[in-house]
């Protein structure tokens, strides 16, 4: 087992996090090496894992606080929860069907607070969320850059890291993806400096993953 990034490990062509809980979240494999239990992190299921496989250093530190927009049923959240041993995750999800799974995950793990809220309205969960080091977003909506900016303005500390997956096809189904990516980057560049970027091929089609740093 080779350390790839903080809290992320590699063996063969697969990546892993150290299991913080023995419960299975989405049917992932567990393996045990030298007394440590690792959970396989599937890049086809998690865009963060796909980004790591494509060379992005997501730079999570074990004591970071992270705001996760579009937490869904908690697949990616569970791996972040593994990495952020002494940190904390605020997970926002608007659909009540998948929120049930997220709630179950939060009950099992002590570093997740789930919010059944619309990420367009940070004021609705703002009273419980404090300043964070990282904002992660995986929301397939046309106005996803605006949603991201609004949340970062309110919750992300200066110099904090923003990670987001942009789904070109939910912004426009016909326009060339390069044009869409550039529009999104333009919108973000006022508030952020782009540190790194990659497409998520072959794991996801027409997705761009951005790593940003907040300017002010």
């Amino acid at each position: 087992m080779k350390k790839l990034q903080e809290g992320v490990f590699e063996k063969g062509d697969k990546i892993y996090t150290i299991a913080a809980s023995s419960s299975r979240v989405y049917g992932e494999k567990f393996i045990e090496i030298d007394g440590e239990t690792y959970r396989e992190w599937n890049p086809n299921r998690s865009k963060a894992a796909a980004a790591i496989k494509n060379g992005i250093n997501i730079e999570l530190n074990s004591n970071n606080h992270l705001l996760y927009l579009g937490a869904a049923s908690g697949t990616t959240v569970s791996h972040f929860s593994d990495i952020l041993e002494e940190g904390f995750i605020y997970g926002v999800e608007y659909s009540d069907t998948v929120f049930r799974d997220l709630l179950e995950l939060a009950e099992d793990r002590e570093n997740i607070a789930p919010f059944l809220d619309n990420a367009r309205k940070p004021e609705n969960y703002g009273n419980l969320v404090s300043e964070v080091d990282i904002v992660f977003q995986d929301i397939s909506q046309r106005d996803q850059p605006e949603i991201f900016i609004r949340n970062c303005k309110r919750f992300l500390k200066k110099g904090g890291i923003g990670l987001l997956a942009v789904k070109a096809r939910s912004i426009s189904s016909s326009e060339d993806k390069k044009v869409i990516y550039n529009e999104v980057k333009d919108k973000l560049s006022e508030e952020f400096r782009i540190i790194d970027e990659t497409e998520l091929e072959p794991y996801e089609k027409d997705h761009l993953f951005l790593k940003l740093e907040k300017k002010n």
């Binding site: 709630l103 607070a113 919010f115 059944l116 419980l128 426009s172 189904s173 016909s174």
Partner: protein, 247 residues
């Protein structure tokens, strides 16, 4: 942190419980119905294809699916189907053995059951609509009413929308294309499915859709917050406007 987590979990549970509205049932049922229709059409197409190896003349003659299913429901063997004897005699299709017939009949039975199920769901949606959205049902009919609610996510959400938004629901792609400077503004979204809109000449459909959207929103608001017996009145108004525009 522990405190925040507990508060968040508690609040999340409470919200899940509060969101248990009966209008959710209609949404899921109508979504299931639409998907099921789609599946049925695909499967039926394949079945026709399959069966036409044996009796191509019949599948060509009977274009209505329900009709074909009914004719075959007593057996699929071509020379045992009543009132198509002469057609069967002339048929160019291949003969079938016992195993072929068995599977064809079993598949047909499933399709038949799907048809029955479809009717049941329609009735079910209509019944819930009577209780939950009587006004909107009067204006749009139970299925379209349910689809409209499905697009907004719930009756309360629909009741809070402006009529101009409702007119565009289901035409988001065209609307945003227009807003980005390409194409023409859409006149109607899902409301096009309403007979009053789609049976008018093209130049009047926009007017009707706008009118219908206005009345639908009124109906939804009354269903959510007010008098549940205004449907008839609203429907009359729509009918009147339709007659005007028809001329």
């Amino acid at each position: 942190m522990e405190d925040i987590r507990e508060k968040a979990i508690k609040k999340g549970r409470k919200k899940l419980k509060e969101s248990q509205n009966r209008d959710k049932l209609i949404i899921k049922a109508v979504n299931f119905l639409d998907q099921s229709n789609n599946n049925f059409n695909h499967e039926m197409e394949r079945f026709r294809d399959w069966y036409s190896l044996h009796f191509p003349e019949l599948t060509k003659e009977i274009t209505k699916d329900e009709h074909l299913i009914k004719i075959l429901s007593n057996g699929v063997k071509r020379n045992e189907i009543s009132s198509f004897e002469s057609m069967a005699k002339e048929s160019t299709g291949m003969p079938l053995n016992k195993k072929d017939i068995e599977l064809l009949e079993e598949s047909l039975e499933i399709l038949e059951r799907k048809l029955e199920n479809r009717e049941k769901i329609k009735k079910y949606v209509s019944e819930i609509a009577d209780d939950e959205i009587p006004n909107l049902k009067q204006v749009l009919g139970p299925l379209l009413a349910a689809r409209l609610i499905s697009l907004t996510g719930g009756l309360e959400e629909l009741a809070k929308k402006p009529a101009s938004t409702v007119q565009m629901l289901g035409a988001e792609k065209a609307l945003f294309r227009y807003l980005h400077g390409k194409g023409t503004p859409p006149k109607h979204g899902i409301l096009f499915q309403h007979n009053f809109v789609n049976s008018l000449p093209e130049e009047n459909r926009g007017k009707m859709a706008r009118f219908l959207a206005n009345k639908s929103v009124m109906a939804a608001r009354l269903d959510q917050y007010g008098d549940k017996n205004k449907g008839e009145e609203l429907r009359e108004e729509c009918q009147q406007r339709f007659e005007e525009l028809k001329e």
